[in-house]
Symmetry: C2
């Protein structure tokens, strides 16, 4: 090591050293497993925990994880990443709280933030560690440690949900702590805003893809499909138990988005049923323009000529 | 040329020489333009026609097209590909029919087949040329000659819709004629079956993507989105005039598919509103299994553990 390490711990140590010395990771699925691979690749000591012990053994065997994360060594970690289902996240952090050193940065990676952040901000304050909600905007249609990879996060966005009282030091510490994973951008937001946006960008996409694949015509698609079918159905395959919990934890926002897409689909359906060419073209042009706008481009009317 | 060419024309010449000597292409957008590039790259003489003359001039200038396709040279073509909107396809072939030599293979590339094939099978019989419906299962979210590329079709499927009376010679001739484009597979089907499948794999995908992008939340997605948002919205941008015509020409099949996806979305919405965890998980697991089945794989239940 070419840099003298401080005696400080957690947020202070991350700010002083520019990175966490030891990282704890709870949950070694696609998300937690990819974190373990990133940090071990970057030369950090990684302690890992997983409900299914055989996954932990596999991670230790391939040296993505140095040792099991437990009550005896969690106090050594400057940063702890929790990549479990929402309720298990709350339970696990609550159970481990007495063993977490004051000043430790604890970041969860769950797909919803309101239900997780509210109790854990409070718990962290009681125990003197720093809790921050987090959401890596990356993934694949596959789940589990076998699909984890060290570069899953390279260039991708990470959403940070810090406690309400603004402290730039802990945001800086979180960005430094996550730097070994190579995220491309960091956004800072509230639990409410996170859940509102994610209901659309991620959850609705999964619901629509799941609904799309259920047409009996799907079974006959081969030889008659191209990129649009492939794209629409890619995330139809998912971890049903995990997404059920995520959807129910964000029911208000998600049902709003599902209702919106149903309402839009009914407009297209009605215009087609009525043979209303002018209205249908308006609807499609509005979608084309909305896509350009969402991408931050000017609508390109030349393509419709 | 290392192969003596026959004096035959059209289907006979293609079968004898293993490829068409001269190809006519009507419509130089993404689809027709990519055909022009493929055939010129493969050393064929390409005559091209396009409503907007400046596009034809650009294609001739970059040598994707040798000369303008018109009444005076259409008789030289062994094979003619028509990549125009459905109604314009019917009008253009009808207008050119008197100048097309008997035996010439004429293939259209429109996104619907019933409305195109019915009149053109009859017209071809009257004039002695061979008409076949076709649909290259390739494309991008962009349209126009500027996006055309010589390898757009490499490895992709092509759907052939031959006349009702089965003649293996013309299917063989079509496959030989299209070989320079490098298609990966050929499927043979009826106009009815084509339109039923394409309503789902392509048209519904475009409608759903267009509906999806219209949520006001789309404007706030940056920093909060990953692959699933990107996939769901890729084809929201489209040539509104062309897709309006395609959707209305396939209204019966397309409205059936839109109604199916609305009905499925309502099931998810209701399960989420009711907080019915068990039912929601069943719905998501059924979608996961359906995706595996559509892909020709066994459902992988291990991922849900």
């Amino acid at each position: 090591m070419d840099m003298a390490e401080t005696e400080e711990h957690g947020v202070d140590a991350i700010l002083a050293n520019g990175k966490p010395r030891k990282v704890g990771i709870a949950g070694l699925g696609l998300i937690g497993g990819s974190f373990a691979k990133s940090y071990s690749e970057a030369g950090c000591t990684v302690y890992g925990w997983n409900r299914t012990e055989s996954t932990l053994a596999a991670a230790i065997n391939e040296r993505s994880v140095s040792a099991k994360l437990d009550e005896t060594n969690i106090g050594e970690c400057d940063c702890i990443l929790v990549a479990l289902y929402p309720q298990v996240t709350i339970d696990w952090v609550t159970q481990m709280a007495p063993y977490i050193e004051p000043g430790t940065l604890v970041i969860d990676c769950g797909g919803v933030k309101r239900v997780i952040c509210e109790p854990l901000f409070e718990l962290a304050e009681q125990h003197g560690f720093v809790f921050m909600g987090g959401h890596p905007m990356a993934g694949t249609q596959y789940s589990g440690f076998r699909y984890a990879k060290f570069d899953l996060y390279a260039g991708e966005p990470f959403v940070l949900v810090p406690p309400a009282i603004y402290d730039p030091r802990i945001i800086q510490a979180a960005e430094l702590a996550l730097a070994p994973c190579g995220f491309g951008t960091f956004s800072v937001t509230t639990p409410e805003k996170h859940d509102e946006l994610i209901a659309y960008t991620s959850q609705l996409a999964h619901v629509v893809s799941s609904a799309f694949i259920k047409s009996p015509t799907a079974l006959k698609h081969r030889g008659f499909s191209a990129g649009s079918y492939k794209d629409l159905t890619r995330v139809a395959e998912m971890n049903a138990a995990m997404w059920t919990e995520l959807f129910l934890d964000n029911a208000d926002n998600l049902t709003t988005e599902i209702d919106r897409v149903i309402c839009e689909l009914e407009r297209y359906r009605d215009a087609i049923t009525d043979g209303d060419s002018e209205h249908l073209q308006e609807l499609l042009q509005a979608g084309t323009d909305a896509k350009a706008k969402a991408d931050g481009r000017w609508p390109d009317r030349s393509r419709s000529s």
